[in-house]
């Protein structure tokens, strides 16, 4: 089932009426979002919305604009133009109003290495204003099988253990919106599979919205019910994984991905020219 509400890189996406009265129930509403660094356009007029409970993957090659898009959703990077609303709040101006409703995990952001896992989680419980922090930490630790790690320094954990601890931090406030940047990067297949299962389980039981940036096609096929494919900062596809594979006449998402980044098949320049010519003929 396609859970998408809307998605486009070339049109405004949301109506004027929607922009005037932001819906606080819509986890993410991105409108005409652009980010330019000097002469480089990292994100180019993208628009999309995420529905509550959806699991959506941002897919694209290196430099496609995935991380910049996520960073703008988190309020870490300011858009050059356009708008990002999370639960109705403009993330450029009012991030604090909704920060407690979302969280983020990435292997590229660490928790302080010298602190024990329990100390780190206690600090973040305080920052997110979690009542009964000790109980919540115990619950999460049991759920993510990190109880034996709680009193060990975070810096001395293996990559897989760190990922689980990072996930524990990300789930501490039971976020309604969870943003994940390559959640299973550098993990062995068994651990990666376990993490994916946990994420799926969390999204289902909490009714949370997940947005993940990933290079792992198997992960995207397994987790996402919608894929937003970015290329050179633009959204070029926005479909369910199955629909994407079908429209490209391919067998796997990986083949679709390779077509896109190598400019083959549907997204080849000559195919685009043919499309434009037939559109002119039709008109």
């Amino acid at each position: 089932m396609n859970e998408r509400i809307s998605g486009s890189s070339h049109q405004a996406g949301a109506s004027v009426a929607e922009a005037a009265a932001p819906d606080t129930n819509v986890p993410v509403a991105v409108r005409d979002l652009t980010k330019v660094y000097g002469t480089i356009t990292a994100v180019d007029h993208i628009s999309f919305k995420l529905k509550q409970g959806a699991t959506v993957a941002l897919l694209g090659g290196n430099g496609a604009g995935k991380t910049t898009t996520i960073a703008m959703l988190l309020g870490l990077v300011m858009p050059t133009s356009g708008e990002v609303r999370v639960f109705g709040a403009d993330m450029s101006k009012n991030r604090g109003a909704v920060a407690y409703r979302l969280n983020f995990q990435s292997p590229y952001v660490d928790l302080p290495a010298r602190l024990t896992v329990r100390q780190n989680l206690t600090v973040y419980a305080g920052l997110y204003g979690i009542a009964n922090a000790a109980e919540r930490i115990a619950y999460i630790a049991e759920d993510l099988h990190i109880e034996p790690l709680l009193d060990r320094p975070t810096g001395k954990l293996s990559a897989g253990q760190k990922t689980r601890v990072g996930l524990a931090k990300a789930l501490l406030n039971a976020p309604e919106l969870l943003l994940l940047d390559e959640p299973t990067a550098s993990l062995d297949p068994d651990t990666a599979d376990w993490i994916r299962r946990k994420l799926r389980e969390y999204a289902e039981t909490r009714g949370a919205t997940l947005l993940l940036a990933s290079h792992n096609m198997a992960e995207v096929e397994r987790l996402a019910d919608r894929v937003i494919l970015l290329h050179q900062g633009r959204i070029i596809e926005d479909e369910t994984p199955a629909a994407l594979i079908a429209t490209h006449g391919r067998d796997t998402l990986e083949q679709v991905f390779l077509d896109v980044v190598r400019g083959r098949g549907k997204h080849a320049p000559e195919a685009a020219d043919r499309g434009a010519a037939s559109a002119r003929k039709a008109s």
Binding site: L76, D110, L111, L115, A125, G126, Y128
Partner: protein, 270 residues
């Protein structure tokens, strides 16, 4: 309901200060290092003071001027370093991204860093001040009530410097880390730690007097050498501090905003 209001804000500040306490507790070496450098400074200048007092210089015979200068300078320097290194620590540990996406507001981060700089300073300076009494008979408390005001002026100045350093590092990354270490030393010759303002050339005097710590060191010398104290000087220093503190916070906020625009926050820790 979002956790808003003063109580929620205080809870977040407390959570962050707790993180710094955990960090200090995790390393005995850090704890020793906190006391080690100011202790060595105090010993060196204390022995120099003792040597000078045995010579003929009448000024040098005034008890404790050098040790007093060293201890007060260390309050400014250690507080500034406490603020800046704690901030840099967040970048080294690649944790700043986690903090900046949490409900923590930038002013709460600043408040936590400020509170922690005072706690860290106490851990560092109290044992050294006690040691100064036992080694050289210098009692910092002899400065009396003005000591509280001196302390406040120096700590507030250190926060202004810390805010500017943190802002620059946010904007330009860890490449600008050197600034965090060196900014306080810029004040060393200008705020007349070891000599009176009167020895400066005329053109430099207004600059020195525009710096709050200058009034502290002048005030300390006035108490120890002449047993007099001009409270007006301290009010002037406090006023200057208010201006510098606002300027420091505006600088920090602007650099943070600029880091968000330039995407520097994505590359922190590199």
């Amino acid at each position: 309901m979002p956790p808003t209001g003063v109580r929620a804000s205080l809870r977040r500040i407390r959570a962050l200060v707790r993180r710094y306490i955990y960090l200090l507790r995790s390393s005995g070496v850090r704890l020793v290092e906190l006391i080690y450098w100011p202790f060595l400074q105090m010993l060196t200048w204390g022995f120099l003071q003792r040597y000078l007092s045995e010579t003929t210089s009448p000024l040098a015979q005034a008890a404790g001027v050098l040790i007093g200068s060293v201890l007060l300078w260390d309050i400014l320097f250690r507080s500034k370093i406490g603020f800046s290194t704690t901030f840099i620590e967040e970048m080294w540990s690649r944790n700043l991204g986690n903090l900046l996406i949490s409900p923590l507001r930038p002013y709460e981060l600043v408040a936590a860093l400020s509170a922690w700089s005072v706690i860290r300073l106490s851990v560092s300076m109290v044992p050294v001040a006690v040691a100064a009494y036992f080694f050289f008979g210098f009692n910092l408390l002899d400065l009396g009530l003005p000591l509280v005001a001196f302390f406040a002026v120096l700590v507030l100045t250190s926060w202004s410097l810390g805010l500017i350093s943190a802002g620059v590092i946010l904007r330009y990354g860890l490449g600008a880390e050197e600034l965090a270490w060196s900014l306080a030393f810029l004040l060393l010759p200008l705020c007349c730690v070891y000599y009176p303002v009167s020895v400066l050339p005329d053109w430099l005097k207004p600059i020195a007097l525009a710096l709050p710590p200058t009034h502290v060191f002048e005030g300390m010398r006035s108490i120890l050498l002449h047993n007099t104290f001009d409270a007006k000087e301290l009010w002037w220093a406090m006023g200057l501090n208010a201006v510098y503190l606002v300027a420091g916070y505006v600088t920090f906020s602007r650099f943070l905003a600029s880091a968000r625009v330039n995407g520097t926050l994505l590359r922190l820790g590199e």
